[in-house]
């Protein structure tokens, strides 16, 4: 990448993805994806099951290695940096996992304080104040001595957000924030994301397949299908889009039955045809 582009990236985009390809073994999951995430915006990555959106998120936080392409986070290409440089970047990002991923053997408070105890030399009393502050931000004040197993699904997600916020990250990632929650609790999590966005001007990236939640929280959306970007744009642009694949996803239209049946027949007979050849 030439320097002029790098410079422009640093001024406008917090994250820039260029021609990203990711493989699981032989199979390519993402086929050359490029997009930017601007500072302070909330980008929602939409896509169906198996579209590659979770893989994209895992690659952005460095859990999967790209097979080709670049991911620029705060001016560094994480596809080509050492693990200690990656750790430095990870201290500036927070990630809220789908099931919360709280450590079952620790209390909620210990979970939230863990990054602080690991990466800072703060006094124990300061850590305690910060942890109460973080729990309050997510509406869980008074729950620091509970074990994760004693919390409901929605509370676990809130605790996970508090842990992701512990290091005051500049970028926050959410994996399916409303998956497995009832509509009211899910709306509460959406509200929490909106509050974080307004209060801290954080860059937020959310992976979801929940349209209602996407419309509510997104500044811009990316629609991914079968490992490719189908459309990218602001919420209004997406709403107004006439692309068939976008309309199909946004209007929640099932795959056409006829095509499906033909595919199905073909799939059933393919093996036999191949053998008779």
């Amino acid at each position: 990448m030439d320097t002029s582009l790098t410079d422009s990236l640093e001024t406008t985009a917090t994250i820039s993805v260029r021609d990203l390809r990711v493989n699981y073994g032989e199979r390519e999951i993402l086929h050359g994806i490029s997009f930017d995430v601007n500072r302070g915006e909330t980008l929602v990555i939409l896509g169906g099951s198996g579209s590659g959106k979770s893989t994209l998120l895992r690659t952005l936080v460095g859990l999967e290695k790209p097979s080709a392409g670049q991911i620029w986070i705060k001016g560094q290409n994480i596809a080509a940096i050492s693990s200690s440089e990656m750790d430095a970047i990870r201290k500036k990002i927070g990630m809220s996992f789908q099931g919360g991923a709280l450590f079952g053997s620790m209390t909620v408070g210990e979970n939230v304080a863990l990054p602080l105890r690991e990466h800072t030399r703060l006094e124990e009393s300061t850590i305690e104040i910060m942890l109460r502050l973080k729990l309050e931000q997510v509406g869980l004040q008074g729950f620091e001595y509970y074990m994760p197993s004693q919390l409901s699904g929605g509370m676990k997600k809130r605790a996970a957000v508090a842990r992701a916020l512990a290091m005051d990250p500049e970028i926050l990632f959410f994996d399916e924030p409303s998956a497995g929650l009832d509509p009211i609790i899910a709306a509460g999590i959406d509200q929490l994301i909106l509050e974080l966005k307004q209060a801290f001007r954080m860059t937020i990236i959310v992976v979801t397949h929940e349209l209602a939640s996407a419309y509510l929280i997104a500044d811009r959306m990316v629609l991914i299908d079968k490992g490719n970007i189908v459309a990218i744009g602001t919420t209004e642009e997406m709403r107004a889009s006439t692309q068939p694949r976008v309309r199909q996803f946004l209007d929640r239209v099932a795959e056409p039955e006829v095509a499906r049946e033909l595919d199905y027949l073909q799939m059933l007979t393919e093996d036999r045809r191949r053998r008779s050849r």
């Binding site: 996992f97 863990l114 842990r163």
Partner: protein, 265 residues
């Protein structure tokens, strides 16, 4: 031709597995001996709580098993020895076979059942619930945080348990000695102690340290390589037990042979 390629494939897989174990052990050694001097202290608190779990809580069951093993050994040895009128050598037979071989081995097998499987299940569950991923995104090394304290706990507790197992085995043998072989309790114990060389005990303890490291490496590696889904945790746990027993026997063989050839010279 196909058999050859299958054999080659298995050998390569086996070597890759041993390599993965060694790599995990190497990383744990780095976090134990090098990283503390670079400002990443060892988690002693976690190591101590692991040591309690691995060591102290294993004592009742281990005592019972090794006591009976000592008694069985005495019975088996006496079966042959009494034909030669050498029943008084029962104490020697029990003491030597316990401290050289059976003490370390039985201890290892009890610890595999209690802790090796638990390591795989704990880490495997954390893998399935994305907790391992969460550690990594928080820039916390899972090997430093989870695996290293287990290595430390096992490398320290296994020799301790082995000494205890040797003692209990000798006590079990003494039950037979006193009841059937005209020993008094004190004479049986002193006969056992007289028959032991320091070398017998030390080689047993060296082996037990290696067993502890092997069991931890296998348990943690199986946990970390757990696939997606809850049923994979069960599979990892089973594999951890089977592979640990196998690897412990291999390590036993290697070190026993090593000590044999060293003592020859």
């Amino acid at each position: 031709m196909q058999i050859l390629s299958q054999v080659g494939g298995s050998v390569t897989n086996g070597l890759a597995y041993v390599g993965a174990l060694a790599s995990l052990g190497g990383q744990a050694a780095y976090y134990t001996f090098v990283a503390p001097f670079q400002g990443k202290p060892v988690r002693f608190q976690r190591a101590v709580s692991q040591a309690l779990d691995v060591g102290v809580r294993a004592i009742p069951i281990l005592s019972l098993i090794t006591f009976f093993i000592g008694l069985i050994l005495a019975l088996q040895a006496a079966y042959e020895l009494r034909r030669f009128g050498a029943i008084s050598y029962v104490a020697t037979a029990v003491a030597i076979s316990m401290s050289r071989e059976l003490g370390p081995l039985i201890t290892a097998i009890v610890v595999i059942g209690r802790s090796g499987s638990a390591f795989a299940a704990e880490i495997g569950t954390m893998k399935v619930t994305e907790e391992i991923d969460a550690l990594e995104t928080m820039a916390i090394s899972p090997v430093h945080f989870l695996v290293t304290p287990k290595f430390i706990a096992m490398a320290i507790m296994l020799p301790c348990l082995t000494i205890w197992a040797n003692t209990m085995g000798i006590l079990g043998g003494s039950l037979f000695g006193v009841a059937q072989a005209d020993f008094t309790f004190t004479r049986y114990i002193s006969a056992s102690l007289d028959s032991l060389f320091l070398r017998d005990i030390v080689t047993g303890l060296i082996k037990s340290v290696m067993f502890g490291i092997t069991i931890t490496a296998v348990g943690c590696l199986e946990g970390l390589s757990t696939g997606a889904g809850a049923e994979q945790v069960g599979r990892s746990t089973t594999r951890a037990v089977v592979m640990s027993i196998f690897m412990v026997v291999i390590v036993d063989l290697v070190f026993t042979a090593l000590f044999f050839f060293i003592s020859e010279h």
